[in-house]
Amino acid sequence: MRVHVDPELCQGHNRCYAIVPELFDVDDEGNAHELNDGVVPVELEEKARLAVANCPEFAISISE
């Protein structure tokens, strides 16, 4: 599984970084990006799905 933040859609709500900082980080302006090329370890898959489901801007996508 991989996650990806669309920088055009992200408005810095910071939900993904709050839920799973192992997979996302934010820059100085609070905009999010995925870590480690978005690769999701198996044990974090559930949290990755939660990050997607809590993004108000629908900015995060998952690919299997």
Binding site: L50, N54, P56
Partner: protein, 403 residues
């Protein structure tokens, strides 16, 4: 203050200052969602009201047909001459693209999650200080004695204002946000009185003389395209931070305590499992989102069959979007462990609340410290809870009894 006639029909005569809306807007929005997802009213010179999440989002993303030049509905519309468009009186909230992005980018780092984390210890100590001051009294007004002072003092600290100016802050907030009912003449008289400008000018003068590490000095020294910010820009942003940063979070803390006072099962879960708090905070923000924004229609166009005219107001009720059952299962229920929660309490699109990280930190800290001190409390039956009128909704008196 003028006295408006009671609303006859919410679909074509709504008024967000009507006592029924102020006391409990949720049934009104629910009714409108079924009857008429975009309501209209001739009040305030013509106002629209979308109540479905889909339409609220569409407006928030459409900066071509809707301008943010004014975001508080009142009897007075900004004329083309009053506001230095596209900056607006309080950049960046009143700014449109492309200026908006420049003004916003300047402020974002000060409000990013990592910067805000640094304010958490101060906020925690502040909350505990307020609780200590309440002492062992069993009944008190939690809106005035707790909820209000938290954002007020945090913002004062961020701007580098004297803490003893707290009472003046309260007065300014009422002036700007709770005077929608005022006539054009009354509002103009308030503006002419110039109290707020005079206060801000005094703080600016003080900071120019003694620069320090706070947001006021930051704004005074900041540059856009190599030029210092226009004095109107600095003043407008300072007013924005004061106004937008205080009664919003005050409302969210108060509404959350109001909910918890009436839901012993939620209190018990939070007291037993503090790790639930971040999820609970999101649900409380969804259910009791305090802020309804507004836009002005920028040009005539048809919005889902509604003939919108340039200069019409549009109320943008994120709290109504958050209660849309098409997006949130059991939207009317507060489910404090709701795991999937794309709520729009902080808005959507380019105007996402700049202070959202700060507000979340303050709300979470305020509730954590409260629950630790007072796991058992209820509404004091002898008194009534009152709610603010206007576009920021929260309890203004909240008499609680500690058990």
């Amino acid at each position: 203050m003028t006295h408006r006639p009671p609303v006859r029909d919410w679909t074509n005569d709504f008024d967000h200052t009507d006592p029924r809306w102020v006391a409990d807007p949720y049934p009104i929005w629910e009714q409108l969602r079924e009857q008429c997802p975009v309501a209209h009213s001739d009040r305030y010179g013509g106002t629209w009201l979308p109540v479905k999440h889909e339409y609220v989002a569409e407006v928030a993303y459409d900066t071509e047909h809707f301008t943010s030049r004014s975001v508080v509905v009142s009897e007075v519309r900004p004329g083309d001459d009053d506001l230095p468009a596209p900056i607006g009186v309080a950049p960046p909230i009143t700014s449109d693209p492309p200026f908006h992005a420049l003004a916003r980018r300047l402020l974002l780092p000060a409000f990013g999650p990592k910067a805000i984390r640094g304010l958490e210890p101060y906020t925690r100590a502040l909350c505990n200080g307020l609780l200590d001051r309440i002492g062992d009294r069993r009944e008190f007004d939690a809106s005035v004695e707790y909820a209000q002072d938290i954002p007020l003092r945090v913002i004062a600290r961020m701007l580098g204002f004297p803490e003893e100016d707290a009472d003046q802050f309260r007065h300014f907030i009422r002036l700007v946000l709770e005077s929608v009912d005022a006539t054009a003449e009354e509002r103009q008289a308030q503006v002419n009185a110039g109290e707020l400008d005079a206060y801000i000018d005094a703080r600016i003068a003080e900071h120019l003389e003694h620069p320090r590490d706070d947001l006021t000095t930051f704004l005074l020294e900041a540059t856009l395209d190599g030029e210092k910010l226009h004095p109107d820009h600095v003043r407008g942003t300072m007013v924005l931070l004061m106004i937008a940063g205080i009664d919003t979070t005050w409302s969210a803390i108060g509404a959350s305590l109001w909910h918890l006072a009436q839901h012993p099962e939620d209190r018990a879960r939070l007291a037993a499992d503090p790790s639930l708090m971040p999820t609970a905070v999101e649900e409380l923000l969804r259910a009791y989102a305090p802020v309804t924004m507004a836009r002005l229609v920028a040009k005539d166009f048809d919005f889902h069959g509604c003939p919108m005219k340039q200069g019409d107001w549009l109320l943008l009720p994120f709290p109504a979007a958050n209660r849309d059952p098409d997006v949130f299962p059991h939207a009317e229920r507060v489910v404090i462990d709701r795991a999937e929660n794309r709520h729009a309490a902080f808005g959507l699109g380019i105007h996402r609340c700049l202070g959202s990280n700060l507000a979340r930190m303050e709300l979470q800290t305020a509730l954590e410290q409260w629950i630790r001190r007072y796991p058992e409390f209820e509404l004091a039956a002898s008194d009534n809870v009152t709610w603010s009128a206007g576009q920021v909704r929260g309890p203004r008196t909240l008499p609680l009894r500690i058990r």
